[in-house]
Amino acid sequence: MDKPRVAIFDFACCEGCQLQIVNLEEELLDVLSLVQPVEWREAISDQSDTYDIAIVEGSITRPGDEEKLRQIRSRAKVLVALGACATMGGVNKLKNNFTMEDVRREVYGKDGSMPHLDTAPTKALDEVVKVDLKIHGCPINNKEFAYILRCLALGKTPAIPNYPVCVECKMRGNVCRYEYNEICLGPVTRAGCDAKCPSAGFWCFGCRGYVDDPNVQAAREVMEHYGKTMEDLKGRLLLFNSKQEATENVK
């Protein structure tokens, strides 16, 4: 069997997820031995027009980028969204809480109306093309990346956690962040990060997005129990989950 040809691309993002791939160090060489890397601008000089697996980081924020993404989609058998910007828009979707005219004026002042500054509301990749697989997180968990790439190379379907961060947080024996009078998004956020943030003394800010069908009622009960409001919860949910379906459900 030929090794699958893999290409990595990026749109509007911080490239922190690609950095996590580099951070695999020796394990990266091991993972790369299962595939044939053909394009990866951040790390190698080669460029290519054909590939089996396209791994795409970043959000779509300009019409021209939609076209580029469609071209990548048409050349790839499997398209993988890498990280929160790609899977759900991430922090880039905070922009969608304002008008585009307003954000342009705020950042560029009087130059904001110039045509080359045009920007569109942020889209996750699956709002433009079909996405076959999502690697969640901001940044991604690179162990999960290695696992998923190995699955793809071997033709297996990876298992992605579909339970809330609270499960992993409890397993690590942490005291609940609500006991510290904080707003934590663990109850509605997809696990798979090993609850790194609450384990370091910081609340979960929801970078892996919602679990499928989040238990909004349970979240409401937690908020009531600790004397918080749903407005408090929504304020923090906006960071990574602006304009997501479930954001609208949290009422």
Partner: protein, 432 residues
């Protein structure tokens, strides 16, 4: 015979973010020569409006994956300035320690993974695994050390979570600091080995000098990455960080739609070489010896030597960290819980990113919600200087083969270690 040169490097590789190099010349006459940046702007300054001071770091850390610790610190310092918060000496020291982990991580990534392939005639670090296994092993060890150190104190590799206004969400234990001390002592031989490699490759760095204004944070007590005022090689006085807009003077040019910066001249440079040129006298002994060994002298204005300065700084941050750890262990880690009462105000913060000085400014309302933000990123500040370097360099090398010219221009851009995703101000550029 007429000779036409047409170089169009679309999305230069092995840099963070998207940039293009355009050169068109015939018979030695330059018709077009531009460094362009087509990175999609993300409008962070607009997006943070309305968000609580407690959430700003979480958002703006995402301006850049490779300098997320630096963005976090510029942000937190600006918030603390706005709200009149003074942190403890312990917090200050642990922050420096965390900040140094990013310098080591980023410098070793840049020198080892992104620049070394040029000097060793390869397209990426991957073939180097076979051709130069010892070099790769050293680089991996240094890079991993930086990352694990960052994760241990910052809570995560990339986008730290322990940095809060007023202090830390969780503190490193004394046990960890003792382990870190051992680890850092253990990589000193690797740093020396890296310096040897760079020494052997240094003759391949182009000899190109252009008199340049260098700008960096300056603190009289130590080689600064985190403290101090804004210094320049063109002036003796330091400018307070609160007045950073009067230093960067962002402007729009007719040639490029990206915002550029200038201070005393038509461009200035920030980054390792700038810090070295302003602070070299304050280097610790091993770092100073490394600079001497590598032939790096104060006043150097060869931009390619920025990579050499990065190696010197890698030694400096490890050497200084060992001092800081000793100081922390002597006093013992005291439990501290940051408590902040939000208040109305405006403040600015600056720290040195691996690739140069980074400024943030925020204004908050009574509840601590952000009403205005401004970030000025090092790559923005270097942008005009890269163009000026191009304009000085190309006439010197125009007679060489096109491929060689292309490589020298790419290497020049890489030498600045640009971090283009950082540049929230960058505009879309039409290509020729």
């Amino acid at each position: 015979m007429s000779k036409t040169i047409d170089i169009h490097v679309h999305h230069i590789t092995r840099v963070e973010g998207h940039g293009n190099i355009v050169l068109r010349a015939s018979d030695g006459r330059i018709e077009k020569l531009e460094w362009q940046v087509p990175e999609a702007p993300r409008f962070f300054e607009a997006m943070v409006r309305g968000r609580s001071f407690e959430d700003i770091q979480t958002i703006v850390s995402r301006i850049c994956g490779i300098c997320s610790v630096t963005h976090s610190f510029s942000c937190i310092k600006a918030i603390e300035d706005a709200m009149g918060i003074v942190v403890s000496e312990q917090t200050d020291k642990i922050r420096m320690l965390l900040h140094y982990s990013e310098q080591l991580e980023s410098h070793s990534l840049h020198v080892g993974y992104l620049v070394a392939p040029d000097l060793l005639g390869q397209k990426s670090v991957v073939p180097l695994v076979k051709s130069h296994p010892d070099v790769v092993k050293t680089v991996i060890k240094l890079h991993r050390t930086g990352n694990q150190w960052m994760e241990a104190i910052g809570g995560r590799m990339t986008h730290p979570v322990t940095i809060k206004p007023g202090g830390f969400a969780s503190l490193p234990t004394e046990q960890y600091l003792r382990e870190l001390k051992k680890t850092l002592e253990g990589i000193v031989p690797d740093l020396k080995a890296l310096a040897e490699v760079v020494l052997s490759l240094a003759p391949k760095l182009p000899a190109f000098d252009r008199d340049t204004e260098y700008v960096a944070l300056v603190d009289p007590t130590h080689y600064s990455f985190y403290h101090g005022g804004i210094g320049s090689t063109d002036t003796k006085d330091l400018t307070p960080v609160r007045k950073f807009e009067s230093v960067v003077n962002e402007y729009v040019t007719a040639q490029s739609t990206a915002k550029w910066c200038k201070w005393h001249r038509d461009a200035f440079a920030v980054g390792s070489l700038a810090r070295f040129n302003l602070n070299a006298d304050l280097l610790l002994p091993l770092a100073a010896a490394t600079a001497k060994k590598l032939g790096l002298k104060k006043g150097c204005c060869n931009p390619y030597m920025n990579n050499v300065a990065q190696v010197v700084e890698s030694v400096q941050v490890v050497e200084h960290s060992l001092q800081i750890i000793d100081e922390l262990l002597t006093k013992g880690i005291q439990p501290e819980v940051p408590k902040v009462q939000p208040r109305e105000g405006e403040g600015a913060g600056a720290v040195e990113a691996p690739r140069g000085i980074l400024f943030h400014r925020y204004a908050f309302d009574k509840k601590g919600h952000c009403i205005r933000a401004n970030c000025c990123i090092p790559t923005n500040q270097n942008h005009a200087n890269i163009q000026k370097d191009f304009e000085a360099l190309v006439p010197q090398i125009i007679g060489r083969p096109q491929e060689e010219i292309r490589l020298l221009l790419e290497m020049l851009v890489r030498a600045y270690d640009p971090c283009i995703s950082c540049s929230t101000h960058y505009l879309d550029v039409k290509f020729v």
